[in-house]
Symmetry: C2
Subunit: 236 residues, 2 copies
Amino acid sequence: MKLDQVRNSARPPIAESLREAIRLGLLKPGKPLIQASIAEAMGVSRIPVREALYTLAAEGLITFGKDGGAHVIELAPDNLDELWMLRGLLESHMASGIVRTATPADVAVLREMVEAMDDLEATVWSDHNFTFHLELHRLSDMPHVADAARRAMMMTEPYSRAAINLLYMEGMANAHHHQILDAIAAGDGDELTRLLLGHPASRAALAEYAATTARPADQKAVVTETAQSLADHLNA
Amino acid sequence: MKLDQVRNSARPPIAESLREAIRLGLLKPGKPLIQASIAEAMGVSRIPVREALYTLAAEGLITFGKDGGAHVIELAPDNLDELWMLRGLLESHMASGIVRTATPADVAVLREMVEAMDDLEATVWSDHNFTFHLELHRLSDMPHVADAARRAMMMTEPYSRAAINLLYMEGMANAHHHQILDAIAAGDGDELTRLLLGHPASRAALAEYAATTARPADQKAVVTETAQSLADHLNA
DNA sequence: TGAACGGACAGTGTATACACTGGAATGCAA
DNA sequence: TTGCATTCCAGTGTATACACTGTCCGTTCA
């Protein structure tokens, strides 16, 4: 939902900074999110901060503990498996829409993205991967399915990033992207469906990683300055 | 997400009343939701009302227009189709979990629900149908998939209810429920998957209805008193 | 020693007050 | 009558102030 187009509000930037900080693992799972600290970091009162927090809570990125305080969500390996599977299910469902609506121009854009990723190191690679999948979602022309998929992707992203870093499987992932691209270019919906369901190897790798640590690791990333300073302020 | 267990807050009841009023069609799509009116109806200030509104917005039940005001979401026929399909997709994915975890006691509970629905008139039937599906979701043991399915179901519910009323197909729907029940009792995951994807007849009926009117009709329902009085206050 | 009490404190929940904005209503001139 | 400027107002955004609650820690008493 494009909730972030409100008239003259300080809330959208707050929510977006928090989302980004969580997604990039700058704010670790379980970390308490103190309203006053966020307010201070963003230079506003607690009112818009609270509203941003409730938005994120409904998005599943944070939860309110028994103490009433907000915390970055913690995912058990089971949850990670489920969300990873869910995202594959939704993306594979989008395949038919993608092959239906993708124009040659769209394919060209995707090709550019995929080829640019061939040369990236793992850390920055995850950022591009994220964008690539969002673009696929957009092309599906199924806004609600895409919304659910994005939600699942946002929740798992900190863990996925860490797994990518550790397992260094971006070579494999890039091959996967090229296959996706070819299927779209060929208009082969069945093949695309199969590809987007997720290849077993990467799911197995992630599941293994999740079963052992289930915790995001520190990593470099392309970060907005406000998200970075917000995270710094909260982690201090 | 069980967001509604906050310490000592007036917000959860507000959000729940609004959800219910929207789900039951007491508040029509497009209806402006004036913060001050809701606050007055619930006997609180605008602050907790605003927070409830942002929660519902993230759930997709309301949107904020260009004027900055909140409105009950309006769904075009395309969106309805997509959401019905999405819900079917998610529920069919849950089939394996349901047959895995459902105990004989669970099946007995479901049987009681299904048999009770055989004798209900269409208006109240929808309420029980809603509960029945939530129970299926719970049994799936896939909380995040269930959450996405519930979300889709909440969004379409006002329209579904109206369609059920108009098309009076609850006989068919009840037969469907009995089949679902049998598949669970038999532990037949494949059959349950097929059933939960949605039978074409009902989807066709819904789609036809959506294509013509795409608007919920007035109807009787089992309503919480607070939701009813809230809706009355806002509709006055 | 150990356990119960109590007070400071950190943090959340929300009512009130005020600033801002967009649109509708009003009034005036041509 | 129409066009336009001005005023008003309904409604939102948010800062401030205060109430409440749970927790931690020191103190006191058995």
